[in-house]
Amino acid sequence: MGNVHVHALKGISLKINKGEFISIMGASGSGKSTLLHQLGLLDMPTQGEILIDGKDVSKLSEKERSLFRLTQLGYVFQEYAIISELTALENVYLPMLMMGRKKQDCINAGIDILNKVGLGDRLDHLQHELSGGQQQRVAIARALVNKPKILFADEPCANLDSESSRQVLELFKKLNKELEQTIVMVTHEDWHMEYTDRVIHLKDGLI
């Protein structure tokens, strides 16, 4: 993991270093979410390449992309996006189960990471038993459980109050500093910039 080269949108070329905490900002319609989806392999470019660690991931099959997302990437969505029928712990260790890890190992890793995000006392809580901020932290824990190379966060604080938003951003900052987690975050709030190392402004599909 050294460089992420993306040729996307209207000729964007972007380099992100390991351990960086980047925010992508721009007005509505500027292409920031599109850029994030492309980087996170949720969508494929109509033209151009996406290189992660020197590997052209735009040529992968759907199955290969799915496996790459599972093992190499992590996602935090705008609206928490945890599975309502699973507890906090089950939500977190689901990606590990998918990778074929033993159930007990999954449980242990899930407990560990939920403790790290401050939800050690909410392991068996279902979605409706968690606040918005707690749900988002579960989603962050899930995104991190497989130790991804890159964590993508698409407006993670959009549906949170300011206090919960601060907690989430503090957590991101902590993960970035302590675990050297590479984080790419889309946001439209100016005050979020103080948490990030670098800001990329998009306008009309261009940096």
């Binding site: 989806h37 996170g40 949720l42 969508d43 759907e62 199955k63 799915s66 496996l67 790459f68 997302r69 599972l70 093992t71 990437l73 992590g74 996602y75 969505f77 996006a81 599975i83 309502s84 029928e85 699973l86 089950e90 689901l94 990606p95 189960l97 998918m98 074929g100 279902l126 899930r142 995104a143």
Partner: protein
């Protein structure tokens, strides 16, 4: 692949465990009722067939019927033939009958029919029509001026039936019988029977001795009925009878009743097929709707699962596993319900015009319908799950 199934199973279990219990119970109940419908109607049809067969054997023709050859009117040396047959192991008894057409006259009413003669003690061993007596008594061997009549001949007193019967003959009444050879006799009605079987209520019975005096013949028979200890061995005994030198026409109950039972059973079989198709369509529709609504409501969730790296097939299989769960539970409840229904009907059989019918349960039928229900349900559940899971991730999450 095994790991993928494990994850599918995990997702399915959690969905069932924590999903809407009311919906789950309703789904299982609907599947159980569909399953009961799948097996109940065919079991009644099988019961009808069994009743017809039993009544054919027990009231009409025994297991095997020996009749004169085409160019003969009667079987000669009927006693000799019966003695030979009765010596064979596995033969319970034989009963020879004369059959002739007759007209019955009572109280200014006329009714055509046929008169059968029997040796009462032989007949009791071979058939059970005597158990259908609803009034009076059975014939004695020496009765020469008494007659048993079926309810279709006597009619019921007080009922207006036009010319279809004699308008309510009672035990003890005297009726005049004109035989096909012109002989007229007056008989006292000794008994009336109602069997609701194939045609038998249209018969009258007198003793063999009386019939021989009417027809002026002896040691002959229009037919000889043979009762065997085991149903299903008729073909074997046909061969044995031929080996004994019996040259008359030998028919099994199946051949004798083929037309009557066959056409009735064919009609019912068609209804069974229609009922089965409708039930399976209902199962498909119910499962499809339930899974469709489920997946549409969880479209975003499915998109999220795909986004975090859960394979599409894993998601689809989790819904298929849920369908299997509903199916198995529905079938189990259906079997329980069916068991209760059949237990009740075993004690309180359904009265059909042809007799009392109990459901006949065949294991192959149950197994067949279990497999059909599962297969069709799986297809019905797979399609909506596949459609939703196949959708583009971004479209599924953000619409």
């Amino acid at each position: 692949m095994f790991n993928d199934l494990k994850v599918s199973f995990f997702l399915a279990c959690k969905s069932i465990q924590r999903g809407n219990k009311g919906t789950s119970i309703l789904t299982v109940l609907i599947i159980s009722l569909i399953f009961v419908n799948l097996i109940f109607f065919p079991s009644i049809v099988d019961g009808v067939e069994e009743t017809l067969i039993r009544q054919s054997i027990e009231h009409v023709c025994g297991n095997v019927v020996i009749e004169p050859k085409d160019d003969q009117r009667y079987i000669d040396n009927a006693d000799g033939i019966e003695k030979k047959i009765n010596k064979l192991p596995g033969v319970v008894g034989t009963s020879s009958r004369y059959i002739t057409g007759a007209t019955f006259f009572y109280n200014n009413k006329l009714k055509s029919g046929s008169v059968h003669s029997i040796d009462p003690s032989d007949e009791e061993v071979v058939t059970k029509f005597h158990s259908g007596l609803i009034a009076g008594e059975y014939l004695g061997k020496e009765n020469t001026n008494e007659i048993l009549l079926g309810i279709d001949i006597t009619g019921k007193e007080g009922e207006v039936t036009g010319d279809s019967d004699l308008g309510g003959v009672q035990v003890g009444d005297k009726i005049d019988v004109t035989f096909s050879n012109g002989v007229i006799r007056t008989y006292r009605v000794k008994g009336i029977f109602d069997i609701s079987s194939i045609n038998i209520n249209r018969y009258a019975f007198i003793t063999e001795k009386e019939m021989e005096s009417v027809l002026g013949i002896e040691d002959q028979a229009s037919e000889i009925l043979v009762k065997l200890s085991q149903k299903g061995t008729e073909e074997k005994y046909r061969t044995l009878f031929l080996e004994l030198g019996i040259s008359e026409d030998i028919e099994t109950w199946r051949e004798k009743s083929a037309d009557k039972i066959g056409s009735l059973v064919s009609s019912f079989s068609l209804l069974t097929v229609i009922s089965t198709v409708i039930s399976l369509i209902m199962a498909v529709v119910v499962i499809f709707i339930i899974i469709y609504i489920n997946t549409v409501n969880k479209k975003r969730q499915i998109g999220i699962l795909k986004a975090i790296g859960i394979e599409q097939n894993v998601i689809i299989h989790s819904y298929v596993i849920q369908v299997l769960f509903y199916c198995f539970c529905g079938i189990a409840v259906g079997l329980l319900l069916f068991g209760i229904i059949t237990s009740y009907l075993s004690v309180n059989p359904i009265r059909f015009p042809l007799g009392y019918v109990r459901p006949m349960v065949e294991q192959t039928l149950i197994l067949q319908n279990i497999i059909s229900l599962i297969v069709f349900s799986l297809i019905a559940g797979f399609i909506p799950a596949w459609r939703t899971a196949n959708e583009n991730i971004l479209k599924a999450i953000w619409g």
